[in-house]
């Protein structure tokens, strides 16, 4: 196998045995990028020279015994809404097309401290608003499994790059499913941590009470290794929790005996693609054979997930995106009469149509006369959903179902109907509404050879349960070994 096809743990093994080095791995992945990028378009920016220079530096440190981390010497890439000092951070928007971040996000600094090598910034839906990466100002990323189909979104570039071998691992962000859904569409592993586990300092905000950064990797082992570097209290983000440090790699245990799993009927309804349903039912049988106890449960509040998410996430986004006014950074319109006109023209010309749509909707939900009916009401319904999920975890260790109702769709099929696009995330939104951790692992392919994702949700700070269950499923199936042919 080529270096770019290997996992973090496989590469780490070769590095420890001195059968390869950081520069060789980085050059191999850059070579892979050069060969495939014209087709896949995963990247907005590639920092080739910086990456090679850093790889040399990291290799020196490793040889001197100064870096012990599993992530040392491994090239990776991050979604372009995560600030990287001195490097363009655009959120795939015209509004920030020339913005060079003046600081590193905490997650970036953490990865750098572990010896990670940044290859570049990955394509996404503009300001993380979308489920297909078709809303990017710059380009459309293609699904490596079928280049006529979307990679999912909004972390489409991240998922596609990991699937294609143009990054050994990547970071994405997840507001309503934006990390898990593309991971599912591209046949890789994606984890949204518990809200408050991972610092959002340096993550350009979409909906602040929903957003979380997480790893996208080739297998669950890699996911645990990256998660170790991301999780932790950060004084720069007051929403981070003061949780005890856990080594998630300790939970890479092949055992689900006695694990109690609830499967909501609402996750397996009629709107599900038949092949997705079949794959998930087969996955349930695998877990049962391995000793897990699987039962049907009901979560009636699922009916209100979409209106709750649309109201709250769009309201928060409208507030967050109020800062883009053409004054301190980013795009400024050229012709304007006065300050008010500067704001309006800048925001009209700088934002794409989906972003404008969500800002208008969010403003409406927060406006005088509508606030009680929409925003406050949605906060109450959020509590109902939160309580119902947490009550389920009194009895069950995990909730399980498909990650997405369907597999990757063709370009242009949903972009003109926003409501149809939002429905893609109906199964992933609950984890963001409730702040609960959730992981997706590949569990099959449909008749078009497109990956199907299995989603597991656990209680607050229950990532260790997810890692164990996902690892067990992976070790007893072969789906994580599949790679698209490009």
């Amino acid at each position: 196998m080529k270096l770019h096809e290997l996992t973090i743990s496989q590469l780490n093994n070769l590095l420890r045995k001195k059968e390869t080095n950081a520069v060789e791995i980085t050059k191999d992945v850059l070579d892979r990028i050069a060969k495939t990028e014209s087709v896949l378009d995963c990247y907005i920016s590639i920092v080739e020279e910086k990456a090679i220079e850093r790889a040399k530096n990291i290799q020196n440190k490793m040889e001197r015994g100064q870096l012990q981390s599993h992530l040392a010497g491994i090239p990776m890439a991050v979604k372009d809404n995560i600030c990287t000092e001195g490097i363009l951070t655009t959120c795939a928007s015209k509004m920030l097309s020339n913005y060079v971040a003046p600081y590193n996000a905490t997650v970036i600094q953490n990865l750098y401290d572990n010896g990670a090598i940044l290859l570049g910034k990955l394509n996404m839906d503009e300001f993380a608003m979308g489920s297909s990466t078709e809303n990017s100002y710059f380009k459309k990323t293609r699904n490596p499994w079928d280049i006529n189909r979307v990679p999912g979104g909004s972390s489409g570039g991240s998922a596609a790059a990991v699937a294609a071998g143009t990054a050994i691992y990547a970071l994405g962000s997840d507001t309503g499913g934006s990390l898990r859904q593309p991971a599912s569409f591209c046949g890789v592993v994606g984890l949204k941590p518990t809200y408050g586990s991972v610092s959002r300092f340096g993550l350009i905000g979409c909906a602040s009470s929903f957003d979380q950064i997480g790893p996208i990797t080739r297998d669950v082992t890699d996911c645990a290794l990256v998660l170790n570097a991301l999780v932790g209290k950060d004084n720069k983000d007051s929403t981070t929790a003061n949780i005890k440090h856990i080594d998630y790699a300790e939970f890479l245990v092949n055992n689900v005996k006695g694990l109690k799993i609830g499967i909501p009927t609402q996750f397996m309804g009629d709107t599900l693609n038949e092949e997705v349903q079949k794959a998930v039912l087969e996955a349930i049988e695998v877990l049962k054979r391995l000793g897990a106890e699987c039962e049907e449960i009901s979560l009636p509040s699922m009916e209100y997930v979409l209106p709750t998410y649309c109201t709250l996430a769009f309201a928060e986004a409208s507030s967050n995106l109020g800062r883009y006014d053409g004054i301190k950074y980013g795009y400024r319109a050229k012709d304007y009469k006065d300050l008010e006109d500067l704001y309006k023209r800048t925001r009209d010309e700088g934002f794409g149509s989906e972003v404008k749509r969500r800002i208008i909707l969010g403003t409406y939900a927060l406006s005088a006369g509508q606030y009680e009916k929409y925003y406050k009401k949605a906060l109450q319904v959020r509590r109902i959903i939160y309580d119902e999920f947490n009550e389920a975890f009194q009895e069950y260790d995990m909730i399980l179902g498909p990650t997405s109702p369907d597999t990757a769709f063709k370009f242009g099929t949903k972009i003109d109907d926003p409501m149809e696009m939002y429905k893609n995330d109906i199964l992933t939104m609950p984890a963001n509404i409730t702040g609960l951790p959730a992981i997706t692992v590949p569990c099959g392919r449909d008749s078009n050879n497109l990956p199907i994702g299995l989603q597991m949700i656990s209680k607050q700070f229950g990532e260790s349960v997810l890692i164990r269950a996902a690892y067990t499923f992976e070790q007893n199936t072969e789906f994580h070994k599949n790679r698209p042919i490009i």
Partner: protein, 99 residues
């Protein structure tokens, strides 16, 4: 049902000037219909009984996260200004605000 005037007013409050193209699209209802459909979805919230339910304002359990009142290092001014669309004498340049 949300009307066109309300959508116009919300765009105005959010300081988004809808372009001539969007006003044309508006005239053939694309943006208008998509917003109406989403509001219709949001309207489903009214059917759920939330009597005596406290709004969930914070997912996290942390309350009043304070730090010591110390002056800490900030970012370099020139680096910050390097992202500014227009700047002069160490300040952002903006249109005249006060007559």
């Amino acid at each position: 049902m949300i009307g066109r005037e309300t959508i116009d007013y919300m765009a105005d409050l959010a300081k988004i000037g809808l372009s001539e193209k969007e006003k044309l699209i508006y005239a053939i209802n694309e943006l208008f219909i998509s917003i109406q459909k989403t509001v219709a979805c949001m309207d489903k919230l009214k059917y759920i009984n939330t009597l005596n339910i406290k709004p969930l304002e914070h997912i996290v359990t942390a309350i009043n996260v304070f730090r010591e009142d110390k002056v800490l290092k900030s970012l370099d001014r020139d680096i910050i200004l390097s992202n500014a669309p227009e700047h002069e004498h160490g300040c952002y340049s903006v249109p005249k605000i006060v007559d």
